[in-house]
Symmetry: C3
Subunit: 526 residues, 3 copies
C-alpha cells in the first residue's frame, strides 16, 4: 500500500501549445560499449538470431518500445573509432583496442550491419563521426560510403558490400562530448569550433539537406558550459541544425536508501529544464551574432538514469593500476559494463524527463535515451537466454507510441515539496499531447512528491478541436511501487509494471489520484 | 563605325623603368573544373587526340597563345583533391565526388598526364597542394613523387608510371583561397599562417630552391583582406617566395546593356592597381617585422573577366535545394560550368589588366590568367568539334608573345572619364616594353573611355638604347567593335578580331587614334 | 707533464643527500642519423655481424660502457619518420628521403630490429613518436604495435614479424624539439601544449603505467625557453611524467686553441645547473597551477659535447645552395655527419656534466648522452674495420658501471677560476655515490681549472653507514693529458686513457692531487 501520509488536489485546465512533436524525440542510443551490441542486439549463437546475427527477441522489444531513431556507434568510442572497420566481409575486419571503455572491439558489427538492423527495427540512424583521432577527410569518406550515389569508388564499396542504395542518413554528430577531459582528443571550445566549422561546411557541400549536430557541453557541470556552446555555435552557426545536450541523473543514495538522495533525484527534471533554457539561450546568442534567422535546435542525444558512481569506481580502479607500472594485458570483449538495474523510482524520473522533453519540444527537436540494450538500458538480454524489460521501459514505450500531434504545457499550480538543490518544486509534472487529425490525446502526469499522494484533475476541453461530448478515456495506467527501490531483475522481470489507473471522467475532464512517486498515462479520444 | 562623339590627344614621352618582365607573367590556370580538362584540353575520342588523349587542336591554340606557365590542378578543387588519384594506370584510378563544383571526377587526367601535356605545350607547371582535407605529410609525399630523384619508394612510383625524370616543378601553392568561406577546410589567418609555416619549411627542407606561394586574400573584398596577408607573411616570411592575389571583373549590367555597368567595368584595372599596392605593403610589413631583406613577390595567379553573377545563380540553386531535405543524386561528369562567352569590351578590359600587370612587374613576378579552355577561357572547344578563340584570346596572345625585356611605365596625362567607384580616371592606359638585346619593343595602349575616341602619341626615344634613326613599326593592331557587346561564338568565331591599326610614325614616335573602348598593340624595332 | 703553475687544497667532509640514483641516468641516444645506425651499430657485411646484421664488436663496447636505456629513433628524424617503415620483412621496407639530415633512409633498421639489439645490449628503450608530419592516430598505432597484447590486428602484425611478446616500452617522447624552427612541423608553445594534452591522455588510456615525456626547450637559448615549459606542462600536467632538456657544449676555440674558449668550455656544467633549475621551476609552476602533488621530472635526453660549428657550416652550405635554383639530386645513405673526434678536455667536461646530473638526480630522473656510435659518440666504428673508444667513453663507463645507491652532493669551498660567462666558479666539482647495501661507493672529482692543479681531500665518514674502519680504496683513476687537445683517433685510439691515480687514504678520507683539466674516480668499500 501507499506510503502516503496525506493527499491534496491539483486542477489543470489551461494549456500553452508548445510545438508539433517531432518523431525523433523518441530516439535511443546504441554505443558499441560492453554488451550493448555484442550480447545485446547481436548474438549470432542465440536461438532467435537472424541471418545477420541479430537477436529477434531483442529486436521485437525494441519495436514494441517505439524507438524512432538511434544514435550510433557512440558515444565515447567514436573518438577512437574507424568507421571502415565495420564494413565489408566480417572475416576481414580488424580487431581493435577500444580506448574509452578498455574493451576489445572485434568489429563484427559496424555500419553495414547496423543499417540492416535499423531497417528491421524501423528506426532512423543518427551517425557520429570521429573527431578524436580523425578529422575532415575520414568524415567525408564515411559520408560518401554511407550516403553516396553509386558510381564513385567509395560509394561502390558499399554496393559491393551488399547495400546498393544510399543509406540516406541525414543527422550527423560531429564527434562526441569533445569538451570532456576523458574524451580521446578532447578540445578547447576554440579548437572544436574551428573543427566544426570545417567539417560541417564540407559535409554539407557534399550532400544537400544534411542536418549537422555539434557537440554541446557533456553536462551542465562542465567548467566550459555556456562558453563552449556560444563559441561553437557562433562560429559554425551557418552550417548547424542541432547542438547536443547530455544529462544523466541518479539517486546518489541508491545504496543506502537514504531519503535525501531520493528527494533530489525525483526533482531531476528541474535540472533538465534549466539545462535546456541555457543551451537555447546560447543558440540564440549565436543567431544574433550571425544576424541569422534560423534557430539551432537541441538534440538531447544522451539522457536517462545512470548510476555513475558505479562506473566511477571502475574508472578509479583503472586509474589506480597506473601506479603498478606498465602493464599491457588484453582487454575483454563485450565486458559487463554499466549494466544498471532500474527500480520503480527510476522509471518515474524517466517519465518526468520525457514530460520535460515534450514541454520543450519547440526547441528540443531530437532526443536519444541512453542507451537501448544492457548498457544503462530499458532492455536486458541474457546470454543465450531471454530478454526482458526494465522498469524504465514502460514510460518510454507508452509515450513513444502514443504521444502524437502537438504538445501542450499545462499550467500547474498545486502542492510542492522541498529539495535542497531546487528549492520548492511542484509535486505534479504533466504534459498533454493532442492530435487533431486522429482526435487522440495523451495525458501524462507524474507525482514526484516523495511524501504524499496527490489528486489531479485535468480538463482538456480548451485544446483546439476537442469535442467534450465525444471525450472518452481509452486507456489509463500508472507505474508505482510502494517500495520505490523495487527492481525488475532477470529472476523476477515483472516485479514492477504499469497497472490500470482508475480515472473518473466528467465531460473532457479526468480526475485520479497518484500515489507518492508515480508515473501515469491516460489516453483519450475526443 | 565608331560611336565616338569627340576626340582628344595624349602625348607620352617620359617613362619609368619597372623591371625585367618575368616570363611567368604570362601564365594561365587549368583547374579540373567543368570542361576545362575533360572535353577541353583532353578528349580521347576527338579526331585530333594524341597518344595521351589530349586534343592537338586545343594544344596548338595554347601554344599560339604564348602561355608560359600553368597553375594546376586548381583552384577550389585542390582543397578536396588527392594527388595520387591522378597517377598510375588510368584504369585503376578512383572516381570521386568533387565537392567544390558538384562534379564527378574520374581522374582520367592527373599530374602524370598533365606533365606530358605541359611538355608538349612548352609550359612550366605551378602546382597547388591540398590544405583543405589534407596537410603536411601528403604535401611532402606529392613533392617526392613529382620532383624526387629516383631511388626512393615514392619517387620510384613515378618512374614506374612512365616518368623517369624528376618533373622539376619549382612553384608550389600552399592550398587555394584558404580564407574563403566556400573553401573546403577554410581557415582563420592564424590557422593558415601556422599551416604555411610548417608546410613551406618542410617542403624547402626536402628540396633546395623551391619557390613557395602562400594564399593571399581571395579578393580585396574579403573581410580579412590585409590582416590575412600580414599575419601569414609575417609568420612564414622566411620560407615564402610569393603571395597569391586573385581578382575577377565583369560588367554587372552585361545582361541589360546599361551603360553604368560598362563604365565601371572599363576601369577595372584601377581596382587591380590598388589591390597590388595593398598586398605589396603587407609583404613589406612582414619583411620589416622579420628584419628581412627579401621582398615577397606577388603571384597574381587568378585574374580575368568572369561573369560571377551567372555562377552565383547556379550556387543559389544548389543552396535552395537544401530545403528539400537530404538528396544524394550523382553529380555530372565534366558539366558545362562557367563557360562565359566574351565580348569586345571584355577583351579590352583584359588588355588593360595585362598593362597593369606589366606596369607592376617589379612586384608581380608571376601571374595566371584564369582559365585556359572552356571555363572562363580564351579558348573554347566543341565536343568532337572545332576549337576557337574568344575575344580575350587576342590581347593575351599579342602580349605574351611580344612583351620582352624591360617594362616601362609611361607618364600619362590626358583626358579622363568619370566612374562612380574610382572617380575620374585616365582614358588611356599604356605600357611599353623594350628589349635592348633584340632591339624590339611593344607599345600597348587601351582607350577605356566609353564616350570618346582619343588620339595617342608615344615617343620611345627616351628608352635606353633606342636609336630613333632605326625606328620602324613592324606590326600594329587594334581590337575594337562598334558594338562592345559583340561576342565570338561557335557559330561566328571570328566576329571580333584584331584589325590593322593605322599608325603615323615620326622618328621614334607613333601617333594613332583609338576608338572608344579599344585595345591596341604596336610592335617596333629600333 | 702538467702545465700547472700552482696548487691548492680543498677539503670535503659534509654532504647533502640528493636521491637514489635512477639507472636511467646512464642512458644514451641512437638516432638514425649519418653512421650512427648504418655502419655504426649495424653493418651486416662486417666480420662480427650477428644474425640481424648488428656488429658484435660495437655491441661489446656498448655493454662495457654500461648504457642502461637508449632513446630511439631520434632526434630530428622523428618528425618525418613513419614507424611502420622499420617493421616487417626488410626487403619490403620503403626507402625514404630523410628531411632533417638530408640522407636517404633505407629502413633496414627499425623498431623491430632495434628491439632485438636492445635485448642483446641489455638496455631499456625510450621511444619517440612523430609529431611533425603525424599525430595522435599514428602514435596510438605505434604504441599498439610495440606494446599491445597479442589479439588485436596491429599487435598481431608484431607477432607475425617475429616478436610475440609486447616490447613493454614504458617511456615515450611526444615528438622531438618541437620548439625548434629547424624541426619539421615545429610549433608554438600553445600548439604543442594542445597536442601533448591529447596524445599523452590517449596513450595513457591505451596503456596503464606509461611514462610520457614532453619536449622541453631545445636549449636554454631558445626565445621561448621557460614560456614553452610553463605552457606545455601546465596544460598537460596530469598526463606527464617527464619534460625533456637538451644541452650541448663545445670549446668555441677548438680550432684555434685560444685559451678563452677552453676556459668557458670547462665551466659548461654551470650552464647545465642553471638549466635544470629553470626547468624544475617551470614544472613546479605547472604543479601549482594544477593544484597537483606530483613533480614532473626532467629527462635530460640529449647532453654531451658537440662541435656545433662544424655542423652549422654544413647547414650553411645547404642553405646557400638555395640560390642555385631547384635541384633534386639524391641524398646519400649513411653519410659521414657529426663525426666529432674528442680530446682530453672534452672527456673532462663530460665527466663534470655527469657529476652535475648526479647532483640533481632528485629532479633529473633520466638522461641520455647524445649519441652512442660514430655521431657525436663515445664509440667509433670503422667500415669493415675495428671499433674504438673516444676519450669521452671513459668517464661515462666508470660512472655508469659504478655509481650506485644514493648520490651525495658535497659542500665544496675551494679555489676558483674566472670565466666571462659564469664569473668565478669552483675549480673542483665533485659528487659521491654510496650504496649502503653493497657498501660500495664512488668519489667523482673534476679539476676544471685551466690554470692550476689542485689537491683534494674527501672524507666520506659522514655518509650513512660508512664504517671508517673498513674503508678501502679499490680502484682509482684519473683522465688527463698535458695537451688537453689530444684526441683518440682511429690510427691512435689509445692516446688518451685513464691512468692510475695515486691516492693517500686515512680512515674514511682520501687525498690526491688533480692536475689542471682532469677527471678522476675513486672507488671504495666501507
Amino acid at each position: 500500500m501507499s506510503t502516503t501520509p496525506q493527499s491534496s488536489a491539483t486542477s489543470i485546465s489551461a494549456f500553452t501549445p508548445v510545438a508539433d512533436i517531432p518523431r525523433r524525440l523518441f530516439g535511443s542510443f546504441v554505443e558499441q560499449l560492453g554488451r550493448s551490441v555484442y550480447g545485446g542486439i547481436y548474438e549470432p549463437t542465440h536461438p532467435t538470431a537472424d541471418e545477420y546475427g541479430f537477436r529477434k527477441d531483442v529486436l521485437d522489444l525494441v519495436k514494441e518500445l517505439g524507438v524512432t531513431c538511434v544514435r550510433y556507434p557512440g558515444g565515447n568510442i567514436v573518438s577512437n573509432y574507424r568507421w571502415e572497420d565495420g564494413t565489408g566481409p566480417r572475416e576481414k575486419r580488424p580487431v581493435r583496442r577500444e580506448l574509452a571503455w578498455h574493451q576489445t572491439e572485434t568489429n563484427e558489427v559496424g555500419i553495414d550491419d547496423f543499417y540492416h538492423w535499423s531497417k528491421k527495427a524501423g528506426t532512423e540512424i543518427m551517425l557520429a563521426v570521429n573527431m578524436g583521432t580523425r578529422g575532415l577527410q575520414e568524415a567525408l569518406d564515411e559520408l560518401e560510403y554511407v550516403n553516396g550515389a553509386p558510381g564513385t569508388t567509395i560509394a561502390d564499396r558499399r554496393v559491393a558490400n551488399g547495400i546498393p542504395e544510399p543509406m540516406n542518413i541525414a543527422m550527423w554528430c560531429i564527434g562526441n562530448e569533445m569538451d570532456g577531459p576523458w574524451q580521446v582528443g578532447h578540445m578547447t571550445p576554440e579548437e572544436y569550433a574551428s573543427r566544426v566549422e570545417k567539417v560541417a561546411h564540407a559535409m554539407k557541400l557534399a550532400e544537400s539537406g544534411l542536418e549537422m549536430v555539434a557537440c554541446g557541453s557533456s553536462s551542465a557541470q562542465m567548467p566550459t558550459f555556456g562558453t563552449w556552446e556560444k563559441t561553437v555555435l557562433t562560429r559554425a552557426y551557418e552550417y548547424l541544425s542541432f547542438v547536443s545536450a547530455h544529462a544523466y541523473y541518479y539517486d546518489h543514495d541508491h545504496d543506502s536508501h537514504k531519503p535525501e538522495g531520493m528527494r533530489e533525484f525525483l526533482a531531476s527534471s528541474e535540472d533538465m529544464k534549466q539545462f535546456i533554457a541555457t543551451v537555447a539561450s546560447c543558440a540564440d546568442y549565436a543567431r544574433e551574432q550571425n544576424h541569422g534567422t534560423k534557430d539551432i535546435a537541441i538534440s538531447f542525444d544522451e539522457w536517462g538514469v545512470w548510476y555513475q558512481d558505479v562506473w566511477q569506481k571502475q574508472e578509479a580502479e583503472w586509474k589506480a593500476a597506473e601506479t603498478e607500472g606498465l602493464h599491457t594485458e588484453p582487454w575483454p570483449k563485450a565486458p559487463h559494463l554499466l549494466e544498471d538495474v532500474y527500480n520503480a523510482s527510476d522509471a518515474v524520473v524517466e517519465g518526468s524527463l520525457m514530460i520535460t522533453l515534450l514541454k520543450h519540444c519547440d526547441r528540443v527537436r531530437s532526443a536519444s535515451r541512453a542507451q537501448l540494450v544492457n548498457v544503462i538500458a530499458p532492455i536486458m538480454a541474457e546470454e543465450n537466454g531471454p530478454a526482458w524489460k526494465q522498469t524504465i521501459y514502460y514510460p518510454f514505450a507508452e509515450v513513444a507510441n502514443h504521444a502524437h500531434g502537438v504538445a501542450y504545457a499545462p499550467e500547474v499550480d498545486g502542492p510542492t515539496f522541498h529539495t535542497a538543490t531546487y528549492g520548492d518544486v511542484q509535486a505534479l509534472e504533466s504534459v498533454v499531447t493532442w492530435d487533431e487529425e486522429t482526435r487522440e490525446g495523451l495525458i501524462l502526469a507524474v507525482n514526484r512528491d516523495p511524501d504524499a499522494a496527490h489528486e489531479v484533475s485535468i480538463d482538456v476541453s480548451a485544446l483546439p478541436g476537442v469535442d467534450a461530448a465525444r471525450f472518452a478515456v481509452t486507456h489509463a495506467e500508472v507505474l508505482h511501487d510502494d517500495d520505490p527501490y523495487r527492481q525488475n531483475t532477470a529472476a523476477n522481470p515483472l516485479a514492477v509494471t504499469p497497472q490500470e489507473l482508475t480515472v473518473a471522467a466528467d465531460g473532457a475532464s479526468v480526475t485520479y489520484e497518484l500515489p507518492s512517486i508515480a508515473w501515469s498515462a491516460v489516453r483519450f479520444k475526443a
